[in-house]
Amino acid sequence: MLGFVFDPCEKCEKMMQPYLDRVLTEEERREAEGHLEGCAYCRKRYRFEEEFRKFVRLATAEPMPPELKAKLAALRTPL
């Protein structure tokens, strides 16, 4: 050993955001999936991240006030 530790989970952690954003190259995606297949630790964290993204979206959603729709329609150019 040369005192250099390559931690595949650390690499997998770095690939999580781009993986879920679907911007990894094909080769990187295969590498991440190969690691995830054998690593329950990273797999849990990726699944959590997916749930977390859904949660943020739902938690911050607020229905548009119905009267605003009417106000916007009134801004249209009269025919």
Partner: protein
């Protein structure tokens, strides 16, 4: 599209009116999505309503500058984010560019730790987070970071659309997005720890 002149033929005028009606209808179909982001850019429902109305008033006035067949949603969001800057959003200190200690697994690790069970179902861990804390944490992000997180994570824009909307390079979108998400997680980890009585 050129502005019709008084000499325009009735046929030209009719085509112009038809294009405008279609443009306005398509823009209005996107109003829910515009409102969602406006609501998170502003501190209150009233401010969000004003911002959305200004966005549509400007869009309807400027409809000729939209090129049919290009991305109307991105075009509208560009108006929205520009107006949000124009309305003099709070001046803030320049964002803290110190490296963040926390990496992307940080929030999960903290929540798992506080659950005291490494076998906890990861799909249930998210239930430990509070909706209100999430709204507050997002609102508290420095604006440059929050804008990118809103466009990509809430409005589903690609990195490249977000770059065009905000008029910043794509690399800046990526770095602000990754950092913004981590800041959000750090804030949520802190509030979740606070709620379980930990420091």
């Amino acid at each position: 599209m050129s502005e019709p002149t008084p000499e325009s033929s009735p046929r030209q005028l009719a085509t112009d009116a038809r294009d405008r009606v279609r443009f306005e209808e398509e823009a209005l179909e996107l109003s829910d999505q515009v409102y969602q982001v406006a609501r998170r850019l502003t501190g209150s429902r009233e401010e969000a309503e004003d911002l959305v109305q200004e966005t549509y008033a400007r869009a309807f006035r400027a409809w000729r500058s939209f090129t049919p067949g290009t991305n109307l949603r991105a075009w509208l969001f560009r108006i929205l984010t520009n107006l949000n800057i124009d309305r003099g959003r709070r001046i803030q200190r320049s964002p803290d560019m110190q490296p963040l200690e926390e990496n992307d697994y940080f929030l999960y690790n903290r929540l798992e730790e506080s659950a005291g069970d490494a076998n906890v179902d990861e799909r249930r861990v998210v239930e430990r987070l509070s909706q209100n804390d999430t709204v507050v944490a997002l609102a508290d992000l420095p604006h440059d970071f929050r804008d990118v997180v809103l466009l990509v994570d809430l409005a589903d824009f690609t990195y490249s659309d977000a770059a065009q909307i905000l008029d910043i390079p794509i690399g800046t979108v990526m770095s602000r997005l990754h950092r913004g998400r981590r800041m959000l997680k750090r804030a949520l980890a802190e509030s979740a720890a606070g709620e379980t009585g930990e420091s």
